[in-house]
Structures are given as structure tokens and as C-alpha cells.
């Protein structure tokens, strides 16, 4: 039985996007538990991909192809989930801050979070503070994820955190930040709840923050 899962893992890690559908259908036909196909197979594979990325063994091109492969697999399993299994773990708003149009990091995190069972709302790039406030009010997410690539746009993250406080929304939402120039010192300085140094650690962070919420 676990051979099927291993096969799925290998395909996602290697980015064999053309073959994943057959492998997932095979696992379903063998009556494997759907949650195992997702959590141990597809998401488990992305954990491995994240670790390989963190170790510098693979890079964004391979990670994107792995994510595409995972997504194709998920699309086959998700419609079959019933009851609690299909219930999202929480809602997370994600966006790249104002002045920054870089979205690969954010998109990778979104794909991983969705894979991990979160309901993710993508607010896009060049995100104005007003829009963040409006969406947090409207959607009442468990967490807000902010991304930036440019060092020139780092101050925007601080502004968003401050504005959440001023609007009385800070207590109701956890704020996660990420992106190449972000580090733990910066997180403390701006008063965010945590940062993920890559997509895999962002998912771990989300599980921790939203779980404790």
C-alpha cells in the first residue's frame, strides 16, 4: 500500500507533472485513505521539496514544477473529501506589500498552505494598507501573511502591523511576514508574530500560529 504513497512522493519531488494524475488515481483505486494521499503523499512530498530547497539542492524552477505537480494531484483528491476532512484548518490572507510586485515567494507559500489544508485568500501584489484593513474586517482571517522581496519595501510591513493596531484588529489576527530581506530581528522590530525563512517554514509557522489562535 505504502508503495503507492512513495510513488506519489517521488513524482512530486521530481516534478513529474504529466504522470501524477495516474499515480493518484491508482492510489484512489486501491482504496487508500484520501487523507493519507494528501498529507503523507502530496503534502509530505512538498515538505521534502521545501527541505531540499532550504538545503540549496534545488531552486525555484524545480520547486514551481513540484508545486504544479502537487496541485494537479490535489485537484483529483479534494472533490472526493467529505465532512470534517474537507473543512479548512483556518483562513489566511496573503499579499505582497505596497510598492512590491514580486510574488513568487508568496505564490509558493500559498500553494503549500492550500496543500496543508488552509483556506487561503490571495490579495495579490502592491497591496495598499487600506485594502488589507478592509479585507481583514470583511473576511476575519486567522492569519495575515505579508511578503516583500525588495529591501526598499520593508517599511511597508511595519506600516501594516501598526495600522492593524490602530484599527483595533491586531488582537484578532496573527501576522506572518516573509521574503528575502526579512529576518527575525526585523520581525521583533515591527511587532509581527513570526516569519518563515522559506515556504516550508511558513507552513509550519501558520500551523503553530493558527493552531494556538
Amino acid at each position: 500500500m505504502s508503495g503507492r504513497i512513495d510513488q506519489i512522493i517521488d513524482m512530486v519531488v521530481a516534478g513529474r507533472h504529466k504522470e501524477i494524475e495516474g499515480a493518484v488515481r491508482g492510489a484512489i483505486d486501491d482504496n487508500l485513505d484520501l487523507n493519507s494521499i494528501i498529507n503523507e503523499g502530496l503534502i509530505g512530498a512538498m515538505d521534502i521539496v521545501g527541505k531540499k530547497f532550504g538545503a540549496g539542492e534545488i531552486f525555484v524552477p524545480e520547486m514551481l514544477v513540484a508545486a504544479v505537480t502537487m496541485k494537479k494531484g490535489l485537484e483529483i483528491v479534494k472533490p472526493l473529501l467529505k465532512g470534517d476532512a474537507s473543512k479548512p484548518k483556518g483562513t489566511i490572507l496573503m499579499g505582497t506589500v505596497k510598492g512590491d510586485l514580486h510574488d513568487i515567494g508568496k505564490n509558493l507559500v500559498i500553494m503549500m498552505l492550500e496543500g496543508a489544508g488552509f483556506n487561503v485568500v490571495d490579495l495579490g501584489v502592491d497591496l495598499s494598507i487600506e485594502k488589507v484593513v478592509e479585507k481583514v474586517r470583511e473576511l476575519k482571517p486567522d492569519a495575515l501573511g505579508l511578503s516583500a522581496l525588495l529591501t526598499t519595501t520593508l517599511p511597508e510591513m511595519q506600516k501594516v502591523v501598526r495600522m492593524m493596531g490602530e484599527q483595533g484588529l491586531r488582537e484578532s489576527v496573527k501576522i506572518m511576514v516573509g521574503g528575502a530581506p526579512v529576518d527575525s530581528t526585523f520581525v521583533e522590530k515591527i511587532g509581527a508574530d513570526g516569519y518563515g525563512k522559506d515556504a516550508a517554514s511558513a507552513v509550519e509557522l501558520a500551523k503553530r500560529l493558527v493552531g494556538a489562535h
Binding site: 534545488i58 531552486f59 519595501t153
Partner: protein, 336 residues
């Protein structure tokens, strides 16, 4: 040798005579709000008006004290000339492209009047103005985007990297080769307009792609670029590039402008005898959030490591305090 700003920069670029102190240069933007206020010139007009552009560049030399002047603050001049809709931003934000006109990897026609497109002409005119003002006194630095970065703008970064990941080598290489003439033409025109050095920014960074991607897809193109562009070229690639320093030297660049993730001692030891090292004062933690004393400590570390030209690692955050930028200059004026 006279220890003038121009002499110090040019001599250090070719690892020649050492003057009284190491040079401090700015291959990428050092514009911050304090500097805009000091000269009364602001973004976005400094991206689109040659006089404003030159005036702000001059302030980097006259007010902060850098030994060079560099008038190109955005990475979208070529993208605009090739048909991207560029939003030139505001006082608080850098320009960016709003669309990716060649997402489908269709052929990219390079316009015959490429160098006369407003976004290109403005840089050439600003370089000529700077040449007239500080030629022979401060090093005049131009900047062009390499084909890899231009491909991000043409196709969208994620889309381009996905094609790389899918192994669409022919498609990727065709786009890079179609963009090469843009880099060559703009660099040559910048030298003709008055640049002493041109920075070639090509973001095949370790944060996105592997050394193996660089070696397979971009190194052959970089070798051709360095052969075809005669003047002094400094390569700029941000992020952690520890795994590809030797490849950058193999490409034939005269200098490499690098970030803090690449330790300066390591860089000097490995490639310091093959090209000039320019960098690598940390933007986010040190220049933007640190104190002048933090800046000084990093500058002195880089000088002791043997970095040839001291510089911020990349375009500085707009809210960077002016005193932190001045601290770079004070620290290099302490000498070797």
C-alpha cells in the same frame, strides 16, 4: 597616483595602485528620502527627466560623498522601451512593470529606435550631463539589465522560471538570445554618452536559481556579452551567490557587485585575484535599521577582507537614514 575619487575607483577596479584610502562607489541606487529632500528632486521625476536624474545622482557624490555617480534608479528602463507598461512609482515607491508582454514566449521585436525611446534616452542624457559636471573627478557609472532580468520583465519571473523548471531550454534560450542585443546596445551607448563603468545587472540569484542553471543557460551568454561590450563591466547579481562566484569570474566581468550573504573574506579568497569585488554593506539590517557604528563595523570588515570597492549591496531602502550612508564614507576615509 593622486587619490581623487575617479582615480581611486578606476584603479581599484583593475586592482592597480592603492591610494590613501579605499573607494566607496554606488553601482546601484543610494537615493533615500533624506537625499531627495536635500536637493529638492524626488521620484518619480528622477526616473523620467534627465536633469532631475543627473541632479539626484550628483547628490550621491556631493552630499553623501560617494566616489561615483550613478543615475539609473529603476530596473525598468529597457522593459519600458520594449513595450512593458511601467508605473514610474512615487516618492515612496520604486517603478515596476504592470504587464508581461511576452508571456507566451513569442518573438520579441527590438525596435530600431531602441536608444531613442524616452526611458533609454533619459539615462543616456543624464550620463552626458554627469560627464560634463564631474568627468575625470568622480567615476560615472551606467547600468544595464542583462537578458535574464529582461526575460523576467518580458515573460514574468514566475512564468520564466517555470519554463526553466519544465526543461524548456530551447524556448528559454531563444528569449535570452533575442534580448542580448538590447543589453549590448544600451551598454555601448552608455559608454559613448560618458559612462566610465557600466553595471550589468542580471538576477540569476541563488535565491531563485541554481549555479547549474547559470552555468547551462546564462554563462555562455555572459561570455558573449563581456566579449562584445568593450568597456569596464561590473556584474550585479543579488542574493546568495556563494556557489557561483567562480562562474562569474569565468564569464569575464571586470568586477562583481555582491550582497552580504556572500562573506567578503570568502569572496576575496576565491575570486579576488580574478575580478574586483564591490560591495557588500547590508541594506536591510545595517543601512536601514542599524546605527552609523554598525555601518562602520561592516565597512571596516569588508576593507580588511580585501573588498576592492566599498558599496551598499543593492538599491537602498528609501527610508534609509542619510547618516548611515554617510557613515560608509567616513569609514572608508579612515584609510586601509
Amino acid at each position: 597616483m593622486k587619490s581623487t575619487p575617479y582615480n581611486l575607483v578606476m584603479s581599484a577596479l583593475y586592482k592597480g595602485m592603492k591610494g590613501e584610502r579605499p573607494p566607496a562607489a554606488n553601482p546601484t541606487s543610494v537615493v533615500c528620502h533624506d537625499l531627495m529632500d536635500a536637493v529638492g528632486v524626488s521620484f518619480p521625476e528622477a526616473h523620467t527627466d534627465a536633469n532631475a536624474m543627473a541632479e539626484l545622482a550628483l547628490a550621491g557624490h556631493e552630499i553623501i560623498g560617494f566616489d561615483s555617480v550613478m543615475p539609473e534608479y529603476s530596473v525598468h528602463q529597457e522593459a519600458a522601451a520594449l513595450g512593458c507598461e511601467v508605473d514610474w512609482g512615487s516618492r515612496d515607491g520604486m517603478p515596476d512593470s504592470r504587464n508581461f508582454p511576452f508571456e507566451d514566449f513569442s518573438d520579441i521585436p527590438v525596435p530600431d529606435d531602441l536608444l531613442e525611446k524616452p526611458s533609454m534616452r533619459v539615462v543616456l542624457d543624464a550620463l552626458s550631463i554627469l560627464r560634463r559636471h564631474v568627468g575625470g573627478k568622480a567615476a560615472v557609472i551606467g547600468k544595464v539589465m542583462g537578458p535574464w532580468t529582461l526575460a523576467y520583465h518580458m515573460a514574468g519571473t514566475q512564468n520564466f522560471l517555470l519554463q526553466v523548471g519544465l526543461g524548456e531550454t530551447e524556448k528559454v534560450t531563444r528569449m535570452l538570445r533575442q534580448l542580448m542585443p538590447v543589453t549590448i546596445a544600451f551598454a555601448r551607448a552608455q559608454f559613448a554618452a560618458g559612462a566610465d563603468i557600466v553595471v550589468l545587472a542580471d538576477h540569476a540569484t541563488g535565491n531563485l536559481v541554481g549555479a547549474y542553471h547559470y552555468q547551462e543557460l546564462l554563462l555562455p551568454i555572459h561570455k558573449e556579452l563581456t566579449a562584445q561590450i568593450e568597456g569596464p563591466l561590473i556584474l550585479h547579481v543579488c542574493g546568495n551567490c556563494l556557489d557561483r562566484l567562480e562562474l562569474f569570474a569565468d564569464a569575464g566581468f571586470d568586477g562583481y557587485h555582491f550582497e552580504w550573504q556572500v562573506d567578503s573574506r570568502n569572496a576575496v579568497e576565491r575570486v579576488g585575484h580574478r575580478l574586483a569585488l564591490v560591495g557588500n554593506i547590508n541594506n536591510a539590517r545595517t543601512l536601514f535599521q542599524g546605527t552609523p557604528e554598525d555601518v562602520r563595523a561592516q565597512v571596516r570588515y569588508a576593507i580588511e577582507a580585501g573588498v576592492d570597492i566599498i558599496a551598499p549591496e543593492c538599491a537602498v531602502p528609501l527610508a534609509t537614514p542619510l547618516e548611515n550612508l554617510k557613515a560608509i564614507i567616513e569609514a572608508v576615509h579612515e584609510g586601509y
